[in-house]
Amino acid sequence: MRIIPFLLSLLSTAALIFFLDNQWGQLPPLGKFLSPQHGIWQNAEPVDKSYTDDLSLPGLKERASVYFDEYLVPHVYANSEVDACYIQGYLHAKFRLWQMEFQTFAAAGRLSEVLGPGEDDRILRYDRSMRRLGMVDAAEKALAKIEEDSTTKKDCDAYTEGVNDYIRHMKAGELPLEYKLLNYRPEPWSNLKIALFIKYMAFDLAGADNDFEMTNAKSIFSREDLAKLYPAVIDSADPIIPKGTHFLPPHFQPKPPATADSLYFNNRDTLTAREMKPEKSNGSNNWAVSGKKTLSGRPILCNDPHLSTNLPAIWYQMQIRTPGYNVYGVSFPGAPYIVIGFNDSCAWGVTNAGRDVRDYYAIKFKDNTRQEYWFNNAWRTTERRRIDTFRIKGRPDVYDTVAYTVFGPVMYDPSFNGFANATSDHSYAVHWKAADSSNELATFGRLQSATSYDDYKSALSHFKCPGQNFVFASKSGVTAIWQQGEFPAKWKGQGLYVMPGEDSSYMWQGNIDSTENPNMIDPDRGFVSSANQVPVDTSYSYFLGSDFPPYRGLLINRKLAQMNSITPADMMKLQTENYDVFAEMAKPLLLRNIQESKLDETGKGYLNQFKLWQLRNDPGEQGPVIFKYWWTHLQEEIFDDEFAKSSLPLMRPFESTLLEALLKDTAYSFIDNVNTPEKETLQQVVTTAFLRSVPDLINAGKYDKLAWGKFKDTWARHLLRLPALSRMHLPIGGGTHCINAAKQFHGPSWRMIVQLTDRTEAYGVYPGGQSGNPGSPFYDTFVDSWAAGKYYPLWVMDMGEIRDKRIKWTMHLKPGNQ
């Protein structure tokens, strides 16, 4: 034995193994990662892999079967609702484990744990924002409410057990790829994680406001200018409940505080915090047409929720049959039940209400310890102080102290200013509807077995936040829509800006009674619809805020009013409609004001193309690109001079605001450039904006980006934003103002059409696939069809069809130990 070479060799081999067993920067632990029996090769599923299996599952009560069709959509047959939830948890985990856990990490402000702090601490700042907003508290409160309800408690327990039974018996090779890339392992699932996921959706859909930007705008602009830049009403909007509908006098009238003018509307304080915000255009379309407008004589219901077009997709498609219901639709990996879908009696779908349910209060602390704050003429001790621990990959832990006031947690203070680099001397507490306790899951649980309008209405009563427009249609012929949620009754202007937090007078005074929520059943016009537009006209008794996009709703209502003898195929055409109503209104205005004589030959060429454009945002069209540049530069020409004077966070007026202003008043005061002695005209700015677009268009042409589809560049993007795991450059048209609202990383996340004939005829598609594994052929099954506007028939399988050739694999499940 030679001791020195032995030791040398031992040490270097051990060092090599150590190196290969650990992550170095972005480099995964290569030994673990590449070992064919442990690492990523195990995720390279054989393309002809069989999902047929016989499983004994400890949490199952009775025998059950799962039939997988050719698209890997499971058709679950269970003898009880609890077993159905258990199997749903098991399947979600089997096909989507990483995504469902990752989303709850995002909800709980724990992304730094697995991703590290990020460039410029962006990920850590995101995490701190989520914790300070009170996401974990909100989830804990929701969990208490979920567990008060014996049905949702049983269902969630079963779901969680299903997830955990999968995790417990998962082989090393079955660990999803992303865990291997980032070098961590899944935690046990829990009902709290379900609640966290629900709150994540609440954040995504009801976590947006512009209070800070508007507060700064109030300090810079006169009241008159503010009304011009941020008007409360969009004239062209066609509300969900048609104009002219009569509303009863309000149950409750909130009173503005006596100091509203002096301390609030005329207050000129500014602030520097930059907020984290969810995607602005989380929106959606839904509608239901009555049988008198359809060829079959039965209602058709359609829904396409607009969310981030992620891979793995946010939705997982399934059919679930129990003695209590037979339901088909899409579920959220991370929560039990079908969220959007239909059963043997009726169908339902949702769009976001977009009401402002998050407000801020300026808090005056006694000193830097932030133990006491001034409230109702006395120093009051903070209700609670929470110390948050942030575990950060590759760095020591970080601690954050969050003070709680009567309004809610202190979101921004001298120790945390969101994404701003400047620190703030001031403190702001947040009050958010989603932090109140509620059990939204109960709504979906009960919709699954709904058979009538009354069932639908009572299911909705559990839904508080995020406010949604629930559209409904039944085989008995009913069509209905409710804007459902618990909405604070605000006095006019309440919560538009940061409010004084020194006494109770600015707090929310009560909720709008749920019977007063906008709703409609079987209207004479033969359809109900919503597309995130303003729900009602100004005769409604309550203050609504102003952030409601008008154009998709306008076109949907125009088209539906004209259509008759409607078939599902007509509805497919409507859902994938690329016509742009915003452009329809803006184009004549631009053409009326362009001074053609100032253009050179190249410019005239582009202008001519724009003139010929038929207002459709199809992927091959160049018109939308010319329009996009032109309008963007026009906004800059009009607003840059006023807005660039301030370095504070500000919000530019909405596109619809500028368009309406210019249509009404060609001498709109902001047209004038305040930095020049002369007074600019609309013709001048429209022409300058066009001239500025020409070099952009020439440049776009050089990079083959002149066609709208290439310019817009839609992706189905992996949650870690890795191009290799994404589907890039999808040839799809549409855009923000189109019914087919496909943007770059965002769009119709599930298109569904349900015709409520005796045997339901339904179609659907989403930009993803049933498997979350990038190594599976089912990872992106539906993406190309989705981009092309094609649909798949949604097959509600009957027990008599188990030998149907569409069934590819069967999982037989029985209770017992694995």
């Binding site: 034995m1 030679r2 070479p5 032995f6 060799s9 031992l10 270097s12 081999t13 090599l16 193994i17 290969l20 067993d21 290569l30 030994g31 673990k32 590449l34 070992s35 064919p36 029996q37 442990h38 690492g39 990523i40 090769w41 195990q42 995720n43 390279a44 599923e45 054989p46 393309v47 002809d48 790829l177 890339l181 890795l722 191009p723 290799a724 795991l725 990038p774 190594g775 599976s776 052929p777 990872y779």
Partner: protein
């Protein structure tokens, strides 16, 4: 002959270790075989290297083929290997081979001196 036996034993034992142990079980396998089947250090190293190279390359190649390279093409962009599945398999094999070789070499020094000097 010894070389062949040693190499084949490492292949077999490494594969079995993969069923029960973490990925570094292959190092134990190569080490053990190298202690039990005495060879000169250079040859021991080569046995371990070749055994793991062959085992990991074959396993990876097999799984890649039945997967139509769906996954390897993606991983070979992340790592980054220009999207080449072949390079990913090669690197996999080399990583295994280095560990196998190093472990086998270490084992060879544990033998009695006379055996080593044969």
């Amino acid at each position: 002959m010894k070389f062949l036996i040693s190499t084949l034993l490492i292949v077999l034992l490494s594969f079995l270790s993969g069923l029960y142990l973490p990925w570094w079980g292959v190092a134990l396998a190569a080490f053990l075989v190298s202690v039990l089947v005495p060879q000169r250090p250079g040859l021991s190293f080569l046995s371990g290297f070749l055994a793991l190279f062959i085992l990991w390359a074959l396993l990876a190649w097999g799984m890649d083929a039945s997967n139509n390279s769906i996954l390897s093409a993606k991983i070979a962009q992340i790592l980054p290997l220009g999207g080449s599945s072949f390079l990913l398999i090669l690197i996999t094999a080399i990583v295994g081979a280095l560990v196998g070789g190093g472990a086998a070499l270490t084992g060879s020094y544990l033998q009695k001196k006379r055996v080593v000097e044969e």
